[in-house]
């Protein structure tokens, strides 16, 4: 095999535990020519705001960005489906020369008249600033004329990384928060943040908190509604999942409205339970909440425990690789895989920061490889070196795993299977089981020799 070398500029973004002192760099722009698995600033904004189902999402630019993000997430809505449409100003050469403001204005007016949304988000793509379009003023004008919030999202692809896109989305959301009435808000209310209702996960989580006796004011942004976001500043607590995407908004809301936040994850039994207990602990003036929480956790675990035991028996000792968008998810994955008796030998993320990677290092066993903003060659290299049985990642990593005869579990935003909560843990175990132990891998060339065929006939 031709050896896979690591680009010199990327060496410090890869760390193997135990071998050397921890000296990882991260939060860098991707290296030109290294095939990063990251997308761009626009992608960051688009994924965060996407699930707001009663808003118009208009992408201002040439057609590509809108085409590639049409109906891209598995984020469910209990009502309107406007978020699943792809709207674009579809800029043409003459717009590049003469500017696209007029087209943007006309597009907004037309679409708002057609769909009657409760708000509109206008995403600036790469060339918008360069051709000099002032989208802020167009948004202000349309907002005034149409009487709904029209929010510019400054998500020009090249102006940073995906993380900056999260931030731009949070800035846009921050303009909505605080513009609605907060009368009749319960003392025990909270906002669920960084939960996008992939396969209905936000509904599961919401139900848990409601069973604990809490009121969910708004979900950012799963099954999201403009009105709920407007009134979300009435909540007493923000619970933030998914490290990168919504922390910025939680911090804004803490500063502006004095709402504290806690960080949680809903993946795996351990982290799911912690997410409930931490919230119960926050509302500790009401002992009833903790009592209900204990009961809920006990009941839920009792239901899934036999299944987990069954899968653990089969999956014990298998080796896994994790490559996810935000590092926070990787922490949960490590724990969840351990629950199944599996060992994580490669862990990485697109957007982790130094603290994230330090925590990853502390969680992992010696020999585990930790990667930041990896490329397909690096991921393959370590999958092979570490003899991985399972890869947990997104669509872009899937064919790489399969080519090498490695099982795969989709843990990204396109999936259609709920992996959050207690039931999600069982689904996760099933997903892992159905890929790792599938008989098709007997035909993978890396498992040498033919089982069928030769001499199998009778004469």
């Amino acid at each position: 095999m031709k050896s896979i070398g690591i680009l010199k500029e990327r060496e410090r973004q890869i760390y193997q535990k135990g071998k050397e002192a921890f000296d990882m760099t991260c939060e860098k722009k991707s290296l030109a020519g290294s095939i990063s698995q990251r997308a761009c600033v626009f992608c960051g904004s688009r994924v965060v705001l996407y699930p707001i189902a009663d808003a118009l999402h208009l992408i201002h630019g040439p057609i590509g960005c809108a085409s590639y993000t049409w109906d891209i997430r598995g984020a469910l809505s209990s009502g309107p489906q406007l978020h699943r449409m792809s709207f674009s100003t579809d800029l043409q050469e003459n717009n590049i020369i003469f500017g696209g403001e007029k087209k943007l204005y006309q597009a907004l007016i037309k679409l708002i008249d057609l769909y009657n949304p409760n708000a509109a988000f206008v995403y600036a793509t790469c060339i918008i600033g360069i051709i000099g379009d002032d989208i802020d003023s167009v948004c202000r004008r349309v907002s005034k004329e149409k009487g709904i919030p029209v929010l510019p999202v400054h998500s020009e692809g090249f102006k940073g990384t995906k993380k900056d896109g999260y931030k731009a989305a949070c800035e846009a959301l921050a303009q909505l928060v605080g513009t609605g009435s907060i009368k009749s808000r319960s003392k025990y209310s909270l906002n669920i943040m960084g939960e996008f209702n992939i396969a209905g996960e936000a509904w599961t989580i919401k139900k848990y908190y409601e069973k604990m006796g809490l009121e969910v004011s708004a979900i950012f942004t799963g099954d999201g509604r403009v009105d709920k976001i407007k009134r979300s500043h009435g909540a007493k607590l923000n619970i933030v999942q998914c490290s990168g995407s919504m922390l910025h908004l939680a911090k804004i809301m803490e500063k502006k409205y004095g709402i504290p936040y806690i960080r949680v994850s809903y993946f795996g039994i351990e982290d799911m339970s912690k997410a409930l207990y931490d919230v119960a602990d926050f509302f500790k003036d009401n002992l009833e909440i903790m009592k209900k929480t204990r009961k809920l956790v006990k009941e839920e675990i009792e239901v899934i425990f036999p299944g987990i035991k069954k899968y653990k028996k089969i999956l014990s000792g298998k080796r896994a690789a994790i490559y996810v968008g935000g590092a926070f998810k990787a922490f949960s994955m490590i724990k969840a895989l351990r629950t199944l008796g599996m060992e994580v030998v490669l862990a990485g993320s697109q957007t982790g920061n130094e603290d994230d990677y330090k925590l990853l290092r502390d969680m992992c066993e010696d020999g585990t490889v930790i990667v930041d903003d990896a490329n397909p060659l690096e991921l393959s290299k370590y999958c092979l070196e570490k003899k991985v049985d399972l890869f947990v990642g997104g669509v872009k990593e899937r064919p790489m795993a399969y080519k090498l005869g490695i099982g795969f579990c989709d843990h990204n935003h396109e999936r259609k299977i709920s992996l959050a909560g207690y039931n999600g843990m069982i689904n996760f175990a099933k997903e892992v089981y159905s890929s790792v132990t599938s008989p098709v891998w007997q035909f993978a060339p890396k498992r040498k020799g033919r089982k069928g065929g030769k001499g199998g006939y009778k004469i």
Binding site: I35, P62, M85, Q106, C126, I127, K396, P445
Partner: protein, 454 residues
């Protein structure tokens, strides 16, 4: 009947087109030992990779020069150089295919000049070939990016040698890997050498690996592309392409190589033209195997003609694909009541008129430059029995409760998009069986009797 252009501006809703760098990426993935490089933001290459991976289920590495704010102000030269160097270090390619993006085009980056500078300053002896194509996403669609990249490869690499070569050049356009494999089989059966450009039949539809392949095996070699300047003839598919500057026409102009331009060979009529051209160029008769394949196809047309007669089809996709499909549907008695495309070459209606007999007097709606919102509206009016096109029309089919027969690109909601054969007698056979059975199944499923005979 062509719908007149809209008077009032309506933004694009659910586009029926993709941007031109995607088409160029297809082509550069179909060259041996090649790495495509998009000169623009990181997102362009990642989105396009994801879009292609969801269709082909193959690892598809496309590099990016990864613009920053500074790059956008001072130009992308330094990033482009760094990207090229890093690709060489990691992938050791024989060729790097660079496609521009809306960003690099808008800031006015002259990639050609940057490459000349790069080559001038390059001290290393062994450098890969570097070919670039201009693909601003604000002009044209993915199919324009595809043809432009093919043309760029030929423009940069093909030369006229001393001795006339024997191979035929073939430019099939954006077909499936299975189409490419079948076309190569036809040339092999004619016992004729050929150079097919691009050729992603292996790179987009390959086996499992024992070891990681940095660049999947397969693709048109640089040597083959070079020798295209020496061929006795070229064949290009696409009646629309026939009206445009193409690689085939460039070879004709530059090296006087005759270019046999024809529609995508879908159905018997269009495929006969292709085989006819092959006979003329090679001086050989069509091999028996293919005549038999044609005969069996006609036999099946006879068996199935009543089931499909005057069935109504709504078809959408790239203009050339739709012209080919309309030709095939018309020859079996199916009425393509809606022919729609996101492309807007200006030749769509005329070319449809060439393949649909008596088009003017038929109740057929033609839409170009259309998005799926307009297509959806037109479908409701056209009241088809089935839809045919890529998977993005599924919601329309679901809404009117009519089957969607998936062809072309992308097919994101089913397996096997790479293995659909669209062209030739074999492709027509597969499509005909699929269509007939879809119609028969619809009737059977709707019947309370549930006959087990047709």
């Amino acid at each position: 009947m062509k719908i007149p252009a809209k008077e009032e501006y309506t933004p694009t809703q659910n586009a029926c087109k993709l941007c031109s760098p995607l088409g160029a990426s297809f082509v550069f993935k179909g060259v041996a030992n090649s790495v495509p490089l998009l000169h623009g933001s990181q997102g362009c290459s990642t989105y396009i990779r994801r879009y292609l991976i969801s269709h082909f289920n193959e690892p598809i590495d496309i590099a990016s020069s990864n613009f920053t704010e500074e790059t956008a102000i001072f130009g992308g030269g330094a990033n482009l150089q760094l990207a090229i160097q890093n690709i060489i270090k990691q992938y050791e390619p024989e060729i790097i295919g660079i496609a521009s993006t809306c960003l690099s085009e808008t800031i006015g980056d002259d990639v050609g000049m940057m490459l000349r500078d790069y080559k001038k300053n390059c001290t290393k002896e062994k450098q890969p070939e570097i070919v670039s194509v201009s693909t601003p996403s604000y002009s044209g669609t993915h199919i324009d990016g595809f043809h432009a990249a093919v043309r760029s490869l030929v423009d940069s690499l093909s030369v006229k040698g001393n001795k006339k070569a024997k191979h035929i050049n073939i430019f099939p356009g954006m077909l499936s890997p299975a189409d490419f494999r079948y076309l190569k089989e036809i040339f092999d059966d004619f016992k004729t050498d050929y150079v097919i450009l691009p050729d992603y039949s292996d790179t987009f539809d390959g086996p499992l690996w024992t070891e990681y392949q940095k660049i999947p095996e397969g693709g048109t070699t640089i040597g083959s592309i070079t020798s295209m300047g020496n061929a006795p003839a070229s064949i290009e598919f696409g009646r629309i392409l026939g009206e445009e500057e193409s690689a085939g026409k460039l070879l004709k102009k530059r090296f006087e190589i005759p270019c046999f331009s024809m529609g995508i060979p879908m159905g018997i009529n269009e495929t006969d033209i292709f085989f006819d051209a092959l006979e003329i160029i090679t001086g050989k008769a069509t091999p028996e195997k293919h005549i038999k394949e044609r005969n069996r196809l006609i036999d099946s047309y006879a068996d199935g003609h009543k089931y499909v007669f005057e069935a109504r089809a709504a078809i959408y996709g790239e203009e050339d694909l739709i012209v080919g499909l309309a030709s095939f549907l018309s020859e079996v008695g199916i009425l393509p009541v809606l022919c729609a495309s996101g492309g807007k070459s200006g030749h769509f209606e005329k070319k449809l008129g060439e393949v649909i007999p008596d088009l003017k007097n038929k109740e057929i709606t033609i839409l170009d430059g259309a998005d799926f919102m307009e297509i959806g509206e037109a479908v409701k009016t056209a009241n088809p029995d089935f839809l045919m096109g890529n998977s993005k029309g599924y919601k329309i089919a679901q809404e009117i409760k009519k089957p969607l027969i998936r062809i072309g690109f992308p097919i994101h909601d089913r397996l096997g998009g790479a293995r659909i054969i669209h062209v030739g007698y074999r492709g027509a056979q597969q499509l005909f069986d699929t269509i007939s059975n879809t119609i028969i199944a619809s009737k059977q499923d709707a019947s309370p009797v549930g006959y087990t005979y047709m």
